[in-house]
Symmetry: C2
Subunit: 321 residues, 2 copies
């Protein structure tokens, strides 16, 4: 039997309680409700809650009330606050919503998992990271289609509860995403390479261009425009992402500094950058030719299910509805 991993049809779909109604949390609440789930949200800012209510959503600024309701309805709680606010949010969950399953949408996973453990929530937590976003932020920028065909990592760490894992995966699928199973540490190493390092290089490239003055900026064409695009992201968001994933980012950055130093030496000593350019071109082609394949035949909870899911994720496999 080789069936898709069953996380959609047979898995319970409890109400969703979204803590933080920014771009990601706000889009998630919209997408979950559109998919037929019950859902409500919390935000500390009254104008944000007013905006969500004006759009017809159930939202409140009272965290304790929102969490008590989650506890009463056995809701799946989604932590969608910025990384620096995660700790206080987890503390409130531990106090007011004992027993609820919990996930998050923060862009780094190991640090969140450590905070979860500190608050004694490991047994009912499964981390998540929807790889979607725009250069905008806030409730108003939210879009129920933000996750359509996006990748949503669901942490497959040792010890996670298979039922909660399936519930979190189902939420991601309900929002229109495909699910990539990965260990938290592997996730962080991967996003350091493909998400945080690109920001660091974009900032450095923007600086190099501006140091050339108006002449250089006036001669900039597509390569500079695209290479610096994400330097336009809000500095606080970029810092939160990169600094929250420090160790993995340092590893990726050191590797890249070594690559660039080798290329520099080759160019200075032998007048060529052939090695870098040919390897880089091959790497970009590998990226362009990557293909998602659908993971089948793994039942969460069965013997070795986590190792099987992680292995599939490493090889480019995704779960689909």
């Amino acid at each position: 039997m080789c069936q898709p991993v069953r996380v959609s049809a047979s898995v319970p779909a409890p109400p969703v309680c979204v803590l933080g109604l920014g771009l990601i949390g706000g889009s998630l609440l919209r997408a979950a409700v559109r998919a037929g789930r019950r859902g409500w949200g919390w935000n500390r800012s009254a104008p944000t809650v007013d905006a969500a209510r004006a759009d017809g959503f159930d939202a409140d600024t009272d965290l304790v009330a929102v969490l008590r309701r989650a506890a009463a309805d056995r809701a799946l709680i989604v932590v969608a606050v910025p990384l620096p606010a995660v700790d206080a949010t987890l503390a409130a969950i531990a106090e007011h919503a004992p027993g609820c399953p919990v996930t998050d949408v923060v862009s780094v996973k190991a640090e969140v998992a450590a905070a979860v453990a500190r608050h004694g929530l490991r047994d009912r937590f499964v981390g998540g990271h929807p790889m979607a976003g725009t250069s905008q932020s806030g409730w108003e920028a939210g879009d129920p289609d933000l996750f359509r065909d996006a990748v949503w990592v669901v942490s497959a760490d040792d010890g996670v509860d298979p039922q909660i894992w399936s519930q979190v995966a189902r939420l991601a699928l309900d929002c229109g995403a495909v699910v990539v199973p990965a260990e938290s540490a592997e996730h962080d190493a991967a996003v350091a390479r493909v998400s945080h390092l690109p920001h660091v290089l974009a900032e450095a490239l923007a600086l190099a261009g501006a140091a050339g003055g108006e002449l250089a900026l006036g001669l900039a064409a597509g390569s500079f425009r695209d290479g610096t695009r994400v330097a336009g992201s809000a500095p606080t968001l970029v810092r939160a992402m990169c600094e929250g994933n420090r160790d993995a980012l340092l590893t990726a950055l050191d590797e890249t500094l070594a690559v660039l130093n080798r290329a520099r030496t080759e160019l200075a000593d032998r007048g060529t950058i052939a090695d870098l350019v040919e390897a880089g071109h091959d790497a970009r082609r590998r990226y362009e030719q990557r293909e998602r394949w659908t993971v089948t035949g793994i039942e969460p909870g069965e013997d070795g299910w986590l190792e099987k899911l992680r292995d599939a994720g490493r090889r480019g496999g995704v779960l689909r509805p």
Copy 2:
């Protein structure tokens, strides 16, 4: 009197003889002919010449015949061959088309200017660089609209002939571009920052992503896609650009390595990359907010015209029709 620099109305528009019918040369011939100029081209490859003829253009594989015709018609010769072929092409021009004005479209200017001097062509040469391109190449990829609103650098080096300078600028304007006047060395320093460095960083980023395997490539979103886009360019073209501008690229690359090393130390020692991210964000905003202004009131040939044009170019000025 503050009139636009007059390079269009009053300047002679001789026929155009384009040597090399790849993406840039082929687009230039199409654009010049569409603008009402007479024009013909040469390419060493018979299939390319056949393709150009099939599209209704005047083209030949016989370089000597093409150059003799240029000499007879006092054509403006455009060197549009790859950098490694520039030297041989200039030698043929020196032999068979004495007296014709000459320009080029090569992406580095100081090295071409040095080759021009070696062949005794300095008096009738004015370098050019249309900042346009796609990831494709060859006659078939050509497009008469390739230069529309693009920047076309026209070299404002000491000693250039003002009449030839104006003819080259007029050709650029006829092709739909705006003209940026700049010294060859300043051009090379600027494009190292905004064109060649972006390629080097894109190659390195592509490598870092691929080193993370299918998991990392599968998690790559917009920042990686855009940051590595130009790593998809043909390695031979990237090498020709970067290696042909070695000294200026080394300067820009060293500056960027220093910036990245500082950021690395800050992140490792203090857990922050605030300095890099804030400065990079400001630099990107400066790029987004740059504005082209129209250079006025400078007459090529008048006292101090070159210094005035270069100064305007440094401050973001462009010549328009």
